[in-house]
Amino acid sequence: MRRPGLAALCLLAPALMPLASPAQPEDFRERWSGFWTVRFERDVSGAALLEQLPEDAVLVDDAGGGELAAGEFSGLALSESALASARNYDYSAELLPENACRAPSVAFYMQAPFPMEIYPGRDLIVFKMEYFDLYRVIFMDGRAHPADAPHSLSGHSVGRWEGETLVVDTTHIAPGTFMNNGFDHSPNLHLTERFELSDDGSILRLTQVYEDPETFAGRAARYMSWSKRPGEYVLPYDCDPNYGG
């Protein structure tokens, strides 16, 4: 039997190894990396991305710093237990020092009006969030969600490229607020995200689709967008629970 030569092995190696992402867009590192600041769009720039949302998804209208009032849930049908929790929510407790620096999960922090930095690599994409100094790690090496991964505010995220679109699937998200009004998601929240760049690379757009049968029926969605600002950085958040003295 003839053994393959080194050159042949080298040629075969990419096929034998787990592929990081077989269809990474050209120049994606340069185009996606850097500082991104929240856009407050009067006219939506990502209509095409919104059109791709599932027909039954309910768009939650609080992204970019907008807020829903007490008892408003954007039309989502909450489960009885979630609704009861929201109705009994104690807003005054939010102001206590022990709660002042309680960071939200990825189900809420992506829509906050704070900038972020993105560091795209072949096997990992890292998001450095200004809000509460949080981080996201997106595994791009083809791995699955491990069943025994701990729950965390950012959860466990795996991504893949669909053409120029980054599709991210996140599970293992620690329970936290979903709408900042007493409505909390469960530890079984499933988040699917689609990130896209504008053709000129200056705008990053995102749609999120959430499923959490324990707390609401059907699917919820959010839309958000950011502008690229070369040369800027996120600032330390350094939350101080005694900010009010």
Partner: protein, 132 residues
Amino acid sequence: MTISSRCLAGFFLSLASAVAGAHHSFAVHYDGERIVSVSGVVEEFRFRNPHGMIRLTGASADGVEGTWTIETNSPNILKRRGWSEDSIMPGDEVVIEGFPANGGSLAMRVYRVSFADGRELIGQQPAAGIER
């Protein structure tokens, strides 16, 4: 896709309307539909996340006297608008406009700080059409 509670136009207007605070609900704790004004002397200014805080002794435009606790947006957001830890000093005489706290306490979220020398600091912008 279903947008059941508001029309799409309203959704995107809401994106532009208010850059609310960080951790707690602005919508619940403050009246975003009204602006009130207080004149007085700064007792204390803290500039820490999640919110800055100004304590001001003075009187509101409608004659209510006392010490007001005035919250700002996240200092990170305000730094990008020119604020710093030294922007406001104890002893400064200022006029502060802001969104009053729900419930009637002497508290508000700052919209604008005006100094005697004409300097201004802008905090949370009111939505278009808000009563001032």
